[in-house]
Amino acid sequence: MAAKKSEVLQGTLDLMILKTLHALGPQHGFGIARRIEQISRDVLQLNEGTVYTSLMRLLQQRWIAAEWGTSENNRRAKFYSITASGEKQLAVETENWERISDVVGRVLRVKEER
């Protein structure tokens, strides 16, 4: 059970990052963390470092690409952008997620009705 939960969480973060890059264009790790914080501040307690683990996983799948650039404070930073196959994956996963959350939601409602 425990393993499954973390899997969902891990997958969720990956999906959120993909969506962020899709919506905002190229971002560095800090920008991604800020965006996720903005949207989910009260819900998700996130170690920002885990963003990088997630980014690494996505890089390995060639769903995102990385490039060195310059950040707002004129420092060297790595900018991540979504690739074509990443866009495809995002579409698939979004649909997947909606279906699953729909099913989970219905199951939970059934439980409540009892």
Binding site: D14, F30, E48, T50, Y52, Q61, N73, R75, K78
Partner: protein, 893 residues
């Protein structure tokens, strides 16, 4: 997110890449994290924190950087590979601490792999795939089997007419060729040299499907009437006798008085019929005789049509042979059938079983080796139970423990494999050097066999791995606390693996005894062979073949004109006791002849070996006389039709009759180029049996006639001297040249040396290798028994201490330990004896006459040898145990 297998593959590829350039990536990531922390701190400062607070808050929100790096590392690289590298270096260090163990394990594995690979390579190259010819597997040679006689009575030489009939009428071959041996005298500036020649029939080189290396092979036009005389060289002869000079192609040589052009040199592996030179010769039905005036003797080779079995071929040839027998009944046995043999049978014959015996021996050796390694690994692993339990308690998973053991086994296996390759390579060189050349096809090139080496490596490596892992599996199952509490003391420890080790020792001892008994039997057999009564004295005798140029020596008178003065010259040499002419050399007894005896009727064909000799023959070889007399000088000079026979002749054909004065017809003499008319001979003497079909063969009836009756037949000279026979070589050569400068000495050698070379070589090879393997087996077993006992004793040091503290004497301790070990050795001996008796049958064909596979002396001797070695292997650890100081032992941890 669910990742499909393709994405897993992508991740894997990325991870593989991650094994490299690690440092650069790590520093880049550090930079990225620092940048993030900086930005985060700036962000907090904007929200109103002090710079110091902001730094701390940023680190808090970012999380544990070390853990993050660790996660990344696991994601990025193949952790198992990195860890395995560590395991390997750990294994190397740990093996370095127990060098003796590592050395023994590696050496054992190496010997097993090496020896078995070397022997199997020999077998593969000599027996399984010796010939380079196209479709060699379908090549067979026919034999005529006389139903009334054993295999040694088979005929495999055919007249020209027979060959032509077989070639024309058979329906089973898609190609046929024949070769006939011919001695070739090669005349050059300095004198005459002798070469082994082969007359080959048209189509021979097309049959074998091998083109020449330089120039060309013989072709159809060379056989046409009036075509220029040509020949081709075998590669080896050309290299050794003519320095591989390529300019010789298309030059002329004088061979047997004919000027012939060398048209080609064959590739290295072409050596059909073992000849030096190949001469084109078209068999002609009318020509009855060939080289040296003897009946034409073609060795026939046929290539079976695809799908035709040997039995079918034999049946087809039998029909043809029956037709031929009706026309010339004298040339065929009364009841016979044809058989066909594989090409490989031409040379290997008896040697085949020798090689397989040795292969069996080497297999046993590999078995001992593997048992030994398994044993060592088990003992070592068991003694480390505590270490493993401790590691397990400290949190190492079972997989992790297995990996440590696996790494060690792998190191040992790789070391063993390396040694094995070396042993195989060196061993093969030794074997090739020791191998009797006459017993293997001259076409075969003996080299290391890759697949076999691979197989032996896999077997040995698996042994190391499995025996290394077994204890890890056990360790994993055990209650972790047990061994920690037990701390290796006491007597109960490792009962389960102990039984396994005991079983291995028993097996090892049993297999080793089987090997030793095998080696012992071959040794006995070899000694017996040397003691075989030849019936003659081979020492101090020089022998040489004297091929006489056929253009000048055809009639009896011509041959006599050469030998009479030659024998007189040689006899006059200082130190020469006696000299004689002979048509064959012991222990071979001349050509086969059918015979009739006056007044004796018989249904089956009677045969005897027929030899032409001069009057000194029996004196040179010190063959005594049984009754009657041998030839007088006058009888030789007058070519009187008198004959001396051996005892076997009398007991076979003249039982109960007075042999002297009987008249015998020796039919073969009629078929010579210089035939003997009306070949009825009177028996004047009987000599005891002399080996005449090799050392091991049955003695056949034999008849000796004066060499002066016919000019046909091979010519050889035998000289008995007072000093070493080879010292006479030069003087004998001068005598020959003085008699006729056109005659060369062929194969001049001491008779004793030749007998030992040609006839003992095979058995000596078998005996030598078996002794080496037996010895190696014995060493391995000693190590095996010793290591197990030493280990068991070391484990019991505590118990021994208690026993001694309670009053046990040193002698008692000694006996206790030795008893433990000897029980295993004795069990092994019992099993080994039974196995030897069962396996003995396999050895039977390898043994000389008179040596039985259950030879009591060998069984007792080898059992004692093994028992003594076993006691020794037990005694060393036992003595160590008896020296234990009880106080030290009790404190011993």
């Amino acid at each position: 997110m669910e990742y499909a297998w393709t994405s897993r593959l992508r991740a894997f590829a990325d991870r593989m890449g991650g094994l490299f350039g690690r440092r650069k990536r790590d520093s880049e990531f550090d930079e990225e994290m620092q940048g993030h922390l900086q930005l985060l701190a700036d962000h907090f400062v904007e929200q109103g924190m002090s710079r110091k607070e902001a730094g701390a808050a940023a680190r808090r929100q970012f999380g544990n950087t070390t853990r993050l790096k660790e996660e990344r590392r696991e994601l990025r690289t193949l952790v198992a590979v990195e860890d395995f590298g560590r395991d390997l270096s750990y294994a190397l260090r740990s093996l370095g601490r127990s060098r003796a163990f590592a050395a023994v394990a590696v050496a054992t594995l190496g010997l097993g792999i090496g020896a078995s690979t070397a022997i199997f390579s020999v077998i593969d190259n000599v027996l399984l795939e010796p010939f380079p010819y196209k479709d060699a597997k379908r090549m067979v040679f026919p034999r005529i089997h006389d139903a009334a006689r054993g295999e040694e009575g088979d005929r495999q030489g055919y007249t020209s007419n027979e060959y032509l009939e077989f070639a024309a009428q058979n329906q089973v071959f898609d190609g046929m060729t024949a070769a006939s041996e011919v001695l070739v005298l090669y005349k050059h500036g300095e004198g005459v040299e002798m070469l082994d020649g082969a007359d080959v029939t048209p189509g021979t080189f097309e049959f074998f499907g091998m083109p020449a290396l330089y120039g060309r092979a013989l072709q159809p036009t060379d056989y046409q009437a009036g075509a220029p005389s040509v020949f081709v060289f075998r590669y080896k002869t050309w290299m050794e006798r003519f320095n591989g000079d390529r300019n010789l192609v298309n030059t002329t040589f004088v061979l047997n008085g004919t000027t012939r052009t060398l048209v080609g040199i064959m590739p290295p592996r072409f050596s059909w019929y073992g000849a030096d030179v190949y001469l084109p010769k078209t068999p002609v039905a009318a020509a009855a005789t060939a080289s040296a005036g003897l009946p034409a003797n073609w060795f026939v080779l046929g290539r079976l049509k695809p799908g035709i079995s040997r039995a079918q071929a034999a049946a087809d040839l039998t029909v043809i042979a029956n037709r031929l027998a009706k026309i010339s009944p004298r040339d065929f046995p009364i009841h016979f059938q044809m058989s066909v043999r594989a090409l490989g049978d031409t040379v290997v014959g008896r040697f085949e079983s020798t090689l397989y015996t040795i292969l069996a021996a080497v297999g046993l050796l590999l078995l001992i080796g593997c048992a030994n390694v398994a044993n060592l690994m088990l003992a070592r692993a068991t003694s480390r139970e505590q270490e493993f339990a401790l590691r397990a308690v400290l949190g190492a998973g079972r997989a992790r423990l297995m990996r440590v053991l696996l790494a060690e086994s792998l190191v040992l296996a790789i070391g063993g494999a390396a040694v094995g390759v070396l042993v195989a390579w060196g061993g093969l060189k030794l074997i090739v050097a020791a191998m009797p050349q006459d017993f293997i096809p001259s076409e075969s090139v003996i080299e290391l066999n890759g697949p076999v080496l691979g197989f032996a490596l896999v077997v040995a490596v698996l042994t190391a791995l499995i025996s290394g892992l077994a204890p890890a599996l056990q360790a994993g199952r055990r209650d972790l606390n047990d061994p920690v509490r037990d701390s290796g003391k006491g007597v109960i420890g490792g009962r389960r693996s102990g039984r396994m080790r005991d079983a291995f020792v028993v097996i090892e001892v049993a297999v080793s005894l089987t090997l030793l008994i095998g080696a012992g039997l071959l040794m006995r057999s070899f000694v017996a062979l040397r003691e075989v009564q030849l019936g003659l004295q081979a020492d101090h005798v020089l022998q040489t073949v004297l091929p006489l140029p056929e253009d000048r020596y055809q009639t009896a008178a011509q041959v006599r004109r050469f030998f009479e003065p030659l024998l007189a010259r040689v006899k006059a040499l200082p130190g020469v006791v006696e000299a004689a002419q002979s048509s064959s050399l012991p222990p071979d007894g001349g050509m086969d002849s059918t015979l009739e005896i006056s007044g004796k009727a018989h249904d089956e064909q009677w045969h005897a070996l027929l030899q032409q000799v001069s009057e000194g023959y029996f004196r040179v070889l010190r063959i005594p006389l049984q009754s009657g007399r041998t030839f007088s000088e006058a009888e030789i000079n007058d070519a009187r039709k008198v004959v001396v026979v051996n005892e076997k002749f009398v007991s076979t054909y003249l039982r109960g009759t007075e042999p002297i004065g009987q008249r015998v017809k020796l039919s073969a003499l009629e078929t010579l180029a210089d035939p003997v008319q009306d070949p009825w001979f009177e028996i004047i003497g009987v000599v005891p049996d002399v080996a005449n079909q090799g050392l091991q063969g049955q003695i056949a009836p034999e008849a000796w006639v004066p060499y002066t009756v016919s000019g046909s037949g091979a010519q050889a000279l035998l000289v008995r001297s007072q000093q070493t026979p080879m010292a006479l070589m030069d003087e004998v050569r001068h005598a020959v040249t003085a008699t006729d400068p056109g005659v060369a000495l062929a194969f001049p050698i001491a008779l004793e040396t030749r007998i030992s070379q040609r006839l003992y070589a095979g058995p000596r090879f078998a005996f030598l290798l078996m002794t080496i393997f037996g010895g190696l087996g014995l060493i391995l077993v000693t190590v095996g028994v010793y290591s197990v006992l030493a280990y068991a004793t070391a484990r019991k040091t505590h118990e021994i201490g208690i026993r001694m503290a309670l009053g046990a004497g040193r002698g008692e301790v000694l006996r206790l330990v030795i008893r433990t070990g000897l029980r295993l050795v004795m069990a092994g001996i019992a099993v080994g004896l039974i196995a030897s008796l069962l396996l003995g049958r396999i050895m039977e064909p390898e043994l000389s006459r008179g040596v039985k596979s259950y030879d009591p002396a060998t069984l007792v001797g080898m059992t004692l040898l093994l028992a003594v070695v076993g006691v020794l292997a037990c005694w060393i650890p036992a003595r160590k145990a008896a020296r234990v100081d009880p106080m030290v032992a009790l404190r011993y941890e």
